[in-house]
Amino acid sequence: MLLIELIPIIKKELFQVLEQTITNKQDVAKLEAVSTTLDWYKEAAEQNMDFSSLSNKIANTIIDNVVEPMVEPLLEDIHLKIEDGHAEVRFNTSPFKSELRPYVEFVKKINNADVAKIKIKFQINSDLQIKDIQVKHVEENTTINFGNLVGSIGLSIISINTPLGNYEDSISLGSKSFSFPLPEISL
Protein backbone atom coordinates (compact mmCIF):
# COMPACT_ATOMS: atom_id res chain seq x y z
CA MET A 1 0.00 0.00 0.00
CA LEU A 2 2.67 2.44 1.05
CA LEU A 3 4.80 1.40 -1.90
CA ILE A 4 2.03 2.11 -4.38
CA GLU A 5 1.45 5.55 -2.93
CA LEU A 6 5.01 6.62 -2.39
CA ILE A 7 7.09 5.05 -5.13
CA PRO A 8 5.78 7.20 -8.02
CA ILE A 9 6.46 10.38 -6.01
CA ILE A 10 9.93 9.30 -5.01
CA LYS A 11 10.67 8.22 -8.57
CA LYS A 12 9.66 11.61 -9.89
CA GLU A 13 11.89 13.47 -7.42
CA LEU A 14 14.89 11.17 -7.80
CA PHE A 15 14.56 11.25 -11.58
CA GLN A 16 15.18 14.99 -11.55
CA VAL A 17 18.23 14.52 -9.35
CA LEU A 18 19.66 11.86 -11.64
CA GLU A 19 18.88 13.63 -14.89
CA GLN A 20 20.62 16.78 -13.69
CA THR A 21 23.61 14.72 -12.59
CA ILE A 22 23.96 13.12 -16.03
CA THR A 23 23.20 16.19 -18.12
CA ASN A 24 25.57 18.42 -16.16
CA LYS A 25 28.43 16.04 -16.82
CA GLN A 26 29.43 17.11 -20.31
CA ASP A 27 32.13 14.42 -20.49
CA VAL A 28 29.32 11.93 -20.94
CA ALA A 29 28.14 13.76 -24.05
CA LYS A 30 31.58 13.20 -25.58
CA LEU A 31 31.52 9.46 -25.07
CA GLU A 32 31.61 7.45 -28.27
CA ALA A 33 28.81 5.25 -26.96
CA VAL A 34 26.58 8.30 -26.61
CA SER A 35 27.37 9.68 -30.07
CA THR A 36 26.81 6.25 -31.60
CA THR A 37 23.48 5.92 -29.84
CA LEU A 38 22.42 9.34 -31.09
CA ASP A 39 23.40 8.28 -34.62
CA TRP A 40 21.19 5.21 -34.26
CA TYR A 41 18.26 7.41 -33.30
CA LYS A 42 18.88 9.53 -36.38
CA GLU A 43 18.86 6.39 -38.52
CA ALA A 44 15.59 5.49 -36.86
CA ALA A 45 14.23 8.85 -38.04
CA GLU A 46 14.03 10.24 -34.50
CA GLN A 47 15.66 13.49 -35.47
CA ASN A 48 14.80 15.32 -32.25
CA MET A 49 16.91 13.07 -30.10
CA ASP A 50 19.81 14.96 -28.53
CA PHE A 51 22.02 14.45 -25.50
CA SER A 52 19.46 16.01 -23.19
CA SER A 53 16.73 13.66 -24.41
CA LEU A 54 19.09 10.74 -24.14
CA SER A 55 19.96 11.69 -20.53
CA ASN A 56 16.27 11.75 -19.84
CA LYS A 57 15.84 8.21 -21.15
CA ILE A 58 18.86 6.95 -19.24
CA ALA A 59 17.70 8.52 -15.97
CA ASN A 60 14.23 7.09 -16.43
CA THR A 61 15.53 3.60 -17.04
CA ILE A 62 17.86 3.74 -14.02
CA ILE A 63 15.16 5.08 -11.73
CA ASP A 64 12.72 2.38 -12.81
CA ASN A 65 15.18 -0.23 -11.64
CA VAL A 66 16.67 1.26 -8.48
CA VAL A 67 14.01 3.13 -6.56
CA GLU A 68 12.23 0.15 -5.08
CA PRO A 69 15.35 -1.59 -3.78
CA MET A 70 16.55 1.74 -2.38
CA VAL A 71 13.34 2.76 -0.66
CA GLU A 72 11.65 -0.48 0.38
CA PRO A 73 13.78 -1.03 3.49
CA LEU A 74 12.82 2.45 4.72
CA LEU A 75 9.12 1.72 4.35
CA GLU A 76 9.44 -1.53 6.23
CA ASP A 77 10.51 0.54 9.24
CA ILE A 78 7.37 2.61 9.00
CA HIS A 79 5.18 -0.48 8.83
CA LEU A 80 6.55 -1.70 12.12
CA LYS A 81 5.85 1.58 13.85
CA ILE A 82 2.20 1.58 12.83
CA GLU A 83 1.68 -1.80 14.42
CA ASP A 84 2.74 -0.34 17.70
CA GLY A 85 -0.70 1.30 17.80
CA HIS A 86 0.36 4.58 19.30
CA ALA A 87 -2.04 7.40 18.96
CA GLU A 88 0.59 9.80 17.76
CA VAL A 89 4.22 9.16 16.99
CA ARG A 90 6.99 11.15 15.48
CA PHE A 91 10.07 9.28 14.32
CA ASN A 92 12.78 8.87 11.70
CA THR A 93 13.62 5.73 9.80
CA SER A 94 17.06 4.29 10.12
CA PRO A 95 19.44 5.61 7.47
CA PHE A 96 19.75 3.08 4.68
CA LYS A 97 22.77 2.86 2.48
CA SER A 98 22.71 0.94 -0.76
CA GLU A 99 25.04 0.27 -3.65
CA LEU A 100 23.26 -0.81 -6.79
CA ARG A 101 24.54 -1.47 -10.29
CA PRO A 102 21.86 -0.69 -12.82
CA TYR A 103 22.52 -0.89 -16.55
CA VAL A 104 20.94 0.77 -19.53
CA GLU A 105 21.09 -1.05 -22.84
CA PHE A 106 20.33 0.54 -26.20
CA VAL A 107 19.44 -2.14 -28.70
CA LYS A 108 19.38 -1.38 -32.40
CA LYS A 109 16.79 -3.55 -34.08
CA ILE A 110 16.04 -4.18 -37.72
CA ASN A 111 12.92 -6.14 -38.52
CA ASN A 112 12.60 -6.93 -34.82
CA ALA A 113 16.01 -8.58 -34.73
CA ASP A 114 18.80 -7.25 -32.52
CA VAL A 115 21.67 -6.09 -34.69
CA ALA A 116 23.78 -4.07 -32.25
CA LYS A 117 23.85 -3.16 -28.57
CA ILE A 118 25.38 -0.51 -26.40
CA LYS A 119 25.35 -1.31 -22.71
CA ILE A 120 26.21 1.31 -20.11
CA LYS A 121 26.60 0.01 -16.61
CA PHE A 122 26.24 2.45 -13.71
CA GLN A 123 26.87 2.33 -10.01
CA ILE A 124 24.51 4.26 -7.82
CA ASN A 125 25.32 4.78 -4.15
CA SER A 126 22.50 6.07 -2.03
CA ASP A 127 22.16 7.06 1.58
CA LEU A 128 18.51 7.67 2.33
CA GLN A 129 16.44 8.41 5.37
CA ILE A 130 12.86 9.47 5.88
CA LYS A 131 12.70 12.10 8.58
CA ASP A 132 9.86 13.57 10.60
CA ILE A 133 7.29 10.89 9.98
CA GLN A 134 4.12 11.59 11.92
CA VAL A 135 1.49 8.96 12.54
CA LYS A 136 -1.83 10.30 13.86
CA HIS A 137 -4.66 8.15 15.08
CA VAL A 138 -7.83 10.13 15.79
CA GLU A 139 -11.21 8.42 16.11
CA GLU A 140 -10.33 5.35 14.09
CA ASN A 141 -8.72 7.47 11.39
CA THR A 142 -5.06 6.95 10.92
CA THR A 143 -2.97 9.30 8.79
CA ILE A 144 0.72 9.24 8.07
CA ASN A 145 2.64 12.32 7.14
CA PHE A 146 5.82 10.97 5.67
CA GLY A 147 7.85 14.06 6.39
CA ASN A 148 10.92 14.38 4.17
CA LEU A 149 13.09 12.07 2.18
CA VAL A 150 16.62 13.18 2.93
CA GLY A 151 19.81 11.80 1.56
CA SER A 152 22.34 11.76 -1.20
CA ILE A 153 22.92 9.87 -4.41
CA GLY A 154 26.24 9.29 -6.12
CA LEU A 155 26.31 8.10 -9.71
CA SER A 156 29.15 6.73 -11.80
CA ILE A 157 29.62 4.79 -15.02
CA ILE A 158 31.60 1.64 -14.40
CA SER A 159 31.66 0.06 -17.84
CA ILE A 160 30.52 0.58 -21.41
CA ASN A 161 30.13 -2.18 -23.95
CA THR A 162 29.76 -1.19 -27.59
CA PRO A 163 30.08 -3.10 -30.87
CA LEU A 164 33.44 -1.41 -31.33
CA GLY A 165 34.89 -2.25 -27.93
CA ASN A 166 34.54 -2.29 -24.19
CA TYR A 167 35.39 0.45 -21.73
CA GLU A 168 35.93 -0.62 -18.15
CA ASP A 169 37.16 2.51 -16.33
CA SER A 170 34.97 4.28 -13.82
CA ILE A 171 33.64 7.73 -14.69
CA SER A 172 32.20 9.61 -11.75
CA LEU A 173 29.16 11.63 -12.70
CA GLY A 174 28.97 13.28 -9.28
CA SER A 175 26.82 13.06 -6.21
CA LYS A 176 23.95 15.18 -5.02
CA SER A 177 22.29 15.74 -1.66
CA PHE A 178 18.61 16.43 -1.54
CA SER A 179 15.62 16.73 0.72
CA PHE A 180 12.09 16.77 -0.52
CA PRO A 181 8.73 16.47 1.22
CA LEU A 182 6.64 13.34 1.04
CA PRO A 183 2.84 13.37 1.13
CA GLU A 184 0.35 12.65 3.91
CA ILE A 185 -1.64 9.50 3.40
CA SER A 186 -4.80 8.34 5.16
CA LEU A 187 -4.90 4.68 6.04
Binding site: Y41, A44, V104, F106, N111, V115
Partner: protein
Protein backbone atom coordinates in the same frame (compact mmCIF):
# COMPACT_ATOMS: atom_id res chain seq x y z
CA UNK B 1 78.51 -33.85 -72.79
CA UNK B 2 75.60 -32.31 -70.92
CA UNK B 3 72.68 -34.55 -70.21
CA UNK B 4 69.21 -33.08 -70.69
CA UNK B 5 67.00 -34.34 -67.86
CA UNK B 6 64.52 -31.57 -67.31
CA UNK B 7 61.31 -32.97 -68.86
CA UNK B 8 59.45 -33.36 -65.61
CA UNK B 9 60.48 -30.07 -64.12
CA UNK B 10 59.72 -28.20 -67.32
CA UNK B 11 56.14 -29.53 -67.31
CA UNK B 12 55.64 -28.37 -63.77
CA UNK B 13 56.98 -24.97 -64.54
CA UNK B 14 54.76 -24.71 -67.60
CA UNK B 15 51.71 -25.19 -65.46
CA UNK B 16 52.89 -22.27 -63.38
CA UNK B 17 53.26 -20.27 -66.56
CA UNK B 18 56.63 -19.06 -65.54
CA UNK B 19 58.73 -18.59 -68.61
CA UNK B 20 61.92 -17.69 -66.82
CA UNK B 21 61.88 -20.84 -64.73
CA UNK B 22 61.05 -22.88 -67.81
CA UNK B 23 64.07 -21.57 -69.63
CA UNK B 24 66.29 -22.26 -66.66
CA UNK B 25 64.90 -25.75 -66.30
CA UNK B 26 66.04 -26.58 -69.83
CA UNK B 27 69.42 -26.68 -68.21
CA UNK B 28 70.85 -24.49 -70.91
CA UNK B 29 70.34 -27.02 -73.72
CA UNK B 30 70.71 -24.83 -76.86
CA UNK B 31 68.95 -27.31 -79.18
CA UNK B 32 65.71 -27.25 -77.22
CA UNK B 33 65.84 -23.55 -76.72
CA UNK B 34 66.22 -23.10 -80.45
CA UNK B 35 63.32 -25.51 -81.18
CA UNK B 36 60.97 -23.65 -78.87
CA UNK B 37 62.03 -20.29 -80.17
CA UNK B 38 61.43 -21.49 -83.70
CA UNK B 39 57.99 -22.85 -82.82
CA UNK B 40 57.01 -19.57 -81.20
CA UNK B 41 58.20 -17.57 -84.19
CA UNK B 42 56.26 -19.89 -86.54
CA UNK B 43 53.06 -19.54 -84.51
CA UNK B 44 53.34 -15.76 -84.34
CA UNK B 45 54.05 -15.60 -88.06
CA UNK B 46 50.99 -17.70 -88.88
CA UNK B 47 48.77 -15.64 -86.62
CA UNK B 48 50.03 -12.38 -88.09
CA UNK B 49 49.78 -13.59 -91.70
CA UNK B 50 46.38 -15.16 -91.09
CA UNK B 51 45.12 -12.00 -89.51
CA UNK B 52 46.47 -9.89 -92.31
CA UNK B 53 44.90 -12.13 -94.94
CA UNK B 54 41.56 -12.06 -93.16
CA UNK B 55 41.50 -8.31 -92.95
CA UNK B 56 42.95 -7.77 -96.36
CA UNK B 57 40.81 -10.26 -98.26
CA UNK B 58 37.37 -9.35 -96.94
CA UNK B 59 35.26 -6.70 -98.67
CA UNK B 60 33.37 -4.34 -96.43
CA UNK B 61 29.63 -4.89 -96.57
CA UNK B 62 27.48 -2.25 -94.91
CA UNK B 63 23.74 -2.40 -94.35
CA UNK B 64 21.71 0.60 -93.17
CA UNK B 65 19.73 0.02 -89.94
CA UNK B 66 16.28 -1.47 -90.38
CA UNK B 67 13.12 -0.58 -88.43
CA UNK B 68 12.71 -2.98 -85.52
CA UNK B 69 8.90 -3.02 -85.67
CA UNK B 70 6.88 -2.98 -88.89
CA UNK B 71 3.37 -3.87 -89.86
CA UNK B 72 2.48 -6.69 -92.14
CA UNK B 73 2.51 -5.81 -95.83
CA UNK B 74 4.65 -2.77 -95.09
CA UNK B 75 7.49 -2.24 -97.54
CA UNK B 76 10.94 -2.55 -96.05
CA UNK B 77 13.88 -1.09 -97.92
CA UNK B 78 17.31 -2.58 -97.47
CA UNK B 79 20.02 -0.07 -98.34
CA UNK B 80 23.69 -0.89 -98.31
CA UNK B 81 27.10 -0.53 -99.82
CA UNK B 82 29.91 -2.90 -100.64
CA UNK B 83 33.50 -1.78 -100.99
CA UNK B 84 36.97 -3.17 -101.02
CA UNK B 85 39.84 -1.15 -99.55
CA UNK B 86 37.70 1.95 -99.91
CA UNK B 87 36.81 1.29 -103.56
CA UNK B 88 33.21 0.37 -104.45
CA UNK B 89 32.57 -3.11 -105.80
CA UNK B 90 30.36 -2.80 -108.86
CA UNK B 91 27.81 -5.31 -110.18
CA UNK B 92 28.23 -7.65 -107.28
CA UNK B 93 25.42 -9.93 -106.17
CA UNK B 94 24.27 -9.26 -102.61
CA UNK B 95 21.93 -11.61 -100.77
CA UNK B 96 19.50 -10.47 -98.07
CA UNK B 97 19.29 -13.32 -95.60
CA UNK B 98 17.11 -14.12 -92.59
CA UNK B 99 19.39 -15.52 -89.89
CA UNK B 100 16.60 -17.42 -88.17
CA UNK B 101 15.81 -19.68 -91.13
CA UNK B 102 18.95 -19.01 -93.22
CA UNK B 103 16.54 -18.25 -96.04
CA UNK B 104 17.64 -15.83 -98.74
CA UNK B 105 14.87 -13.28 -98.88
CA UNK B 106 16.14 -11.79 -102.10
CA UNK B 107 19.15 -10.85 -104.16
CA UNK B 108 20.21 -7.50 -105.52
CA UNK B 109 23.11 -6.09 -107.54
CA UNK B 110 25.42 -3.27 -106.43
CA UNK B 111 25.50 -0.18 -108.66
CA UNK B 112 28.42 1.94 -109.86
CA UNK B 113 28.90 3.33 -106.36
CA UNK B 114 28.85 -0.11 -104.79
CA UNK B 115 25.45 0.68 -103.35
CA UNK B 116 22.56 -1.70 -103.43
CA UNK B 117 18.88 -1.48 -102.67
CA UNK B 118 16.31 -4.18 -102.05
CA UNK B 119 12.67 -3.93 -101.05
CA UNK B 120 10.61 -6.54 -99.32
CA UNK B 121 6.94 -6.66 -98.39
CA UNK B 122 6.76 -7.62 -94.74
CA UNK B 123 5.12 -10.92 -93.89
CA UNK B 124 4.19 -11.78 -90.34
CA UNK B 125 5.27 -15.13 -89.03
CA UNK B 126 4.91 -14.97 -85.25
CA UNK B 127 8.57 -14.32 -84.48
CA UNK B 128 11.15 -11.69 -85.39
CA UNK B 129 13.35 -11.78 -88.48
CA UNK B 130 17.06 -11.18 -88.12
CA UNK B 131 18.23 -9.75 -91.43
CA UNK B 132 21.72 -9.32 -92.73
CA UNK B 133 23.33 -8.81 -96.12
CA UNK B 134 25.83 -11.32 -97.45
CA UNK B 135 28.30 -11.16 -100.27
CA UNK B 136 29.85 -14.34 -101.68
CA UNK B 137 32.12 -13.81 -104.69
CA UNK B 138 31.60 -16.35 -107.46
CA UNK B 139 33.98 -19.28 -107.14
CA UNK B 140 35.46 -18.05 -103.89
CA UNK B 141 34.84 -19.30 -100.37
CA UNK B 142 35.43 -15.92 -98.81
CA UNK B 143 32.31 -13.98 -98.04
CA UNK B 144 31.36 -10.80 -96.22
CA UNK B 145 28.45 -10.26 -93.91
CA UNK B 146 26.86 -7.09 -92.73
CA UNK B 147 25.59 -6.30 -89.27
CA UNK B 148 22.38 -8.13 -88.34
CA UNK B 149 19.14 -6.27 -87.52
CA UNK B 150 16.05 -7.73 -85.82
CA UNK B 151 12.72 -6.87 -87.46
CA UNK B 152 9.41 -7.81 -85.90
CA UNK B 153 6.47 -7.87 -88.27
CA UNK B 154 3.14 -7.37 -86.55
CA UNK B 155 -0.19 -8.32 -88.03
CA UNK B 156 -2.70 -5.62 -88.80
CA UNK B 157 -6.14 -6.60 -87.60
CA UNK B 158 -9.21 -5.09 -89.11
CA UNK B 159 -12.83 -5.97 -88.46
CA UNK B 160 -13.07 -7.73 -91.78
CA UNK B 161 -9.72 -9.46 -91.63
CA UNK B 162 -10.19 -13.10 -92.58
CA UNK B 163 -7.56 -14.15 -90.02
CA UNK B 164 -9.68 -12.82 -87.21
CA UNK B 165 -12.75 -14.66 -88.48
CA UNK B 166 -10.65 -17.78 -88.70
CA UNK B 167 -9.44 -17.26 -85.16
CA UNK B 168 -12.95 -16.93 -83.89
CA UNK B 169 -14.09 -20.03 -85.67
CA UNK B 170 -11.03 -21.98 -84.55
CA UNK B 171 -11.33 -20.88 -81.01
CA UNK B 172 -12.58 -23.70 -78.83
CA UNK B 173 -14.25 -21.53 -76.23
CA UNK B 174 -16.39 -18.44 -76.27
CA UNK B 175 -13.93 -16.57 -74.06
CA UNK B 176 -11.19 -16.54 -76.64
CA UNK B 177 -13.56 -15.31 -79.29
CA UNK B 178 -14.67 -12.49 -77.09
CA UNK B 179 -11.14 -11.40 -76.31
CA UNK B 180 -10.21 -11.37 -80.00
CA UNK B 181 -13.29 -9.34 -80.81
CA UNK B 182 -12.47 -6.82 -78.12
CA UNK B 183 -9.04 -6.27 -79.58
CA UNK B 184 -10.46 -5.90 -83.07
CA UNK B 185 -12.99 -3.37 -81.91
CA UNK B 186 -10.35 -1.29 -80.22
CA UNK B 187 -8.43 -1.16 -83.52
CA UNK B 188 -5.40 -2.72 -81.93
CA UNK B 189 -2.68 -3.38 -84.39
CA UNK B 190 -1.48 -6.48 -82.59
CA UNK B 191 -3.44 -9.67 -82.39
CA UNK B 192 -3.14 -10.78 -78.81
CA UNK B 193 -5.67 -13.59 -78.94
CA UNK B 194 -4.60 -16.93 -77.63
CA UNK B 195 -3.63 -18.19 -81.09
CA UNK B 196 -1.75 -15.06 -82.00
CA UNK B 197 0.37 -14.25 -78.97
CA UNK B 198 3.66 -13.16 -80.30
CA UNK B 199 6.39 -14.23 -77.87
CA UNK B 200 8.71 -11.40 -78.87
CA UNK B 201 6.03 -8.80 -78.23
CA UNK B 202 5.27 -10.39 -74.90
CA UNK B 203 8.92 -10.27 -73.96
CA UNK B 204 9.17 -6.62 -74.98
CA UNK B 205 6.21 -5.76 -72.76
CA UNK B 206 6.51 -8.19 -69.88
CA UNK B 207 10.21 -7.91 -69.15
CA UNK B 208 10.23 -4.11 -68.58
CA UNK B 209 7.10 -4.39 -66.43
CA UNK B 210 8.57 -7.25 -64.41
CA UNK B 211 11.84 -5.39 -63.95
CA UNK B 212 9.98 -2.23 -62.86
CA UNK B 213 7.81 -4.12 -60.37
CA UNK B 214 10.83 -5.96 -59.03
CA UNK B 215 12.73 -2.72 -58.60
CA UNK B 216 9.83 -1.09 -56.75
CA UNK B 217 9.51 -4.10 -54.42
CA UNK B 218 13.25 -4.13 -53.88
CA UNK B 219 13.33 -0.42 -53.05
CA UNK B 220 10.36 -0.61 -50.70
CA UNK B 221 11.80 -3.65 -48.94
CA UNK B 222 15.16 -1.98 -48.71
CA UNK B 223 13.58 1.09 -47.13
CA UNK B 224 11.77 -1.12 -44.66
CA UNK B 225 14.76 -3.19 -43.73
CA UNK B 226 17.28 -0.38 -43.42
CA UNK B 227 15.29 1.74 -40.96
CA UNK B 228 16.13 0.51 -37.50
CA UNK B 229 14.26 0.95 -34.27
CA UNK B 230 15.92 1.53 -30.93
CA UNK B 231 14.81 -0.32 -27.84
CA UNK B 232 15.94 0.57 -24.34
CA UNK B 233 16.39 -2.17 -21.81
CA UNK B 234 17.34 -1.76 -18.20
CA UNK B 235 18.00 -3.86 -15.19
CA UNK B 236 20.24 -4.52 -12.26
CA UNK B 237 23.45 -6.52 -12.33
Amino acid sequence: MRKYTSNQSSTKELTKNNVMKLLISFNGCPVHLFKHALSLIAIFTLVIIGNEQFVWAQPLLELAPLPSLVQEEQEITFLGRISFEGQPLIDQSIDIVDAVTDQIMGTTISDSNGEFIFTWIAVSRGEAYYFYAEFTPAGAPVFSRSVQYPVLVTQTVGEETPDVVETESDSPSGENSESTNEISESNSELVVGSDYVNPDVLLLVIIPIAVSVGYIIYKSKRRYTTRPSIEIRGGLD
